[in-house]
Symmetry: C2
Subunit: 267 residues, 2 copies
């Protein structure tokens, strides 16, 4: 069984991803797709006159500030548009896909950051209306039931808090939690780059293999969004997933390439 995370940034060729996922699924492979929505949510926010705003913790972590209005925009982009049309794409290829966000059936559950310290203009303040959080529990029973019935779950990066509030979560780390919960053989993280590079963006510096015990040291090479992917990889390995692959989602056969060991293989 594979969990495949499709990045939410520009550049990934969704047709190639869906072609490959459909082919593997029809060969009998169990697959769960998890997708991001960052770029789509940014564009919708711009159009609606409520652009995305990022905030930074005193520790230097940054994320999309998600007040209730941003949550609505994120949900419309992630669940309404991307998830529905990804499911439609798979259906067109004969795959009976089911779209879910983590809110449905409590597929992904966790703690909301309901009071979180941020740095703004050099000063610290507490944010209380932020609907982001971290996935801590996965409803593996529901996902496995759907897989056994020959459905392909397609999951949008929202979770539900312990107080039952919808919240925005990081897609890479969500995919890692799902991979761990369903005992996936591999977690494949498709991005708009060739993999983890020693000297970003020099593709010839691609790191082709990382020993799972040495992953922490690799975080130094990770630029921007890649840091959360390394964190996700580390969490998946910690939950017993044997292998994580960072692979190029811009080219044909992106999933097959990952299975063939192209990209950065961690394990």
């Amino acid at each position: 069984m594979f969990v495949i995370k499709i990045g939410g940034s520009r550049g990934i060729n969704m047709d190639y991803v869906v072609d490959d996922a459909a082919r593997l699924f029809q060969q009998g492979e169990k697959i769960i797709l998890v997708h991001g929505a960052g770029n789509e949510a940014n564009e919708l926010g711009e159009k609606l006159g409520y652009p995305a705003k990022h905030v930074t913790s005193p520790q230097g972590f940054s994320w999309r500030y998600t007040d209730r209005q941003t949550l609505e925009i994120f949900t419309m982009a992630a669940v309404g548009k991307l998830n529905t049309f990804l499911v439609e794409s798979l259906q067109k290829r004969g795959v009976n896909a089911i779209g879910l966000s983590g809110v449905s059936g409590r597929v992904m559950e966790g703690a909301r950051k309901d009071a979180v310290r941020i740095v703004e203009g050099g000063k610290q303040r507490i944010l209380r209306d932020d609907y982001t959080g971290r996935v801590e529990k996965v409803n593996a029973d529901l996902l496995c039931t759907l897989l056994d019935l020959k459905y392909l779950p397609v999951i949008a990066p929202l979770a539900i808090s312990y107080q039952s509030e919808a919240m925005n979560v990081d897609g890479d780390r969500a995919a890692a939690m799902i991979a761990g919960a369903v005992h996936a053989d591999k977690l494949i993280i498709l991005t708009n780059v060739v993999g983890l590079m020693r000297n970003f963006p020099d593709e010839s510096s691609l790191i082709t293999h990382i020993d799972k015990n040495k992953l922490e040291a690799s975080i130094d090479f990770a630029e921007g969004r890649m840091k959360k992917k390394v964190l996700g990889a580390s969490e998946a390995l910690g939950l017993g997933v044997p292998q994580v692959v960072f692979a190029d989602g811009r080219v044909k056969h992106p999933i097959q390439n990952a299975l063939d060991g192209k990209g950065t293989v961690i394990g």
Copy 2:
């Protein structure tokens, strides 16, 4: 088992509906909710500078003209916003709801009106880019599996065509098809009026009971949106659903009221 349709127009009190649905579900009743999205989709279309446009057939039927961009807007409003937050509302009341559109798992399937005649400025022309259709098949197996596992399905009014295109469908008639497919005991259609009135909008002219064999004659009393609800009722009865109730969704205990026979009871 009940199928409950929640209208997409202004005025329905969603908190009252969700309170009642949660209470009945927790008492062990199997429930499927189907919702509309008309008003929400209209508002989003306005905000995005792409307002809804309605077209009319030579026979006088009118519907939302749904080109691909309108389909995106409809999906964002229906699946992204309304469906997700309805599921969240149920989760807050301790009900494990699952949001689905008819695209997921081919829950609702049917023929797309891919070439349809309309009247515009007195002239007829053929519309070829309209993504609307009619539900003809329901994946009752999936819905019943979810109900047996104690989930409450919440369904957005999109279906998938036989060519696997997402399409906008009428929520009332979709709810009727679902009620028939799962052998529901009742179909409850919640609206922003007291029920079917002999002299709309005079509430004292409420028709409290209609014999199922005399429903066709009642369509003459139905104004605007109510015509499709009467059509839905007729289809549900034709599929063997013993009773359909049109009930007021603006007041407390709207579902219990319907079960107690308040509104227009057809059967």
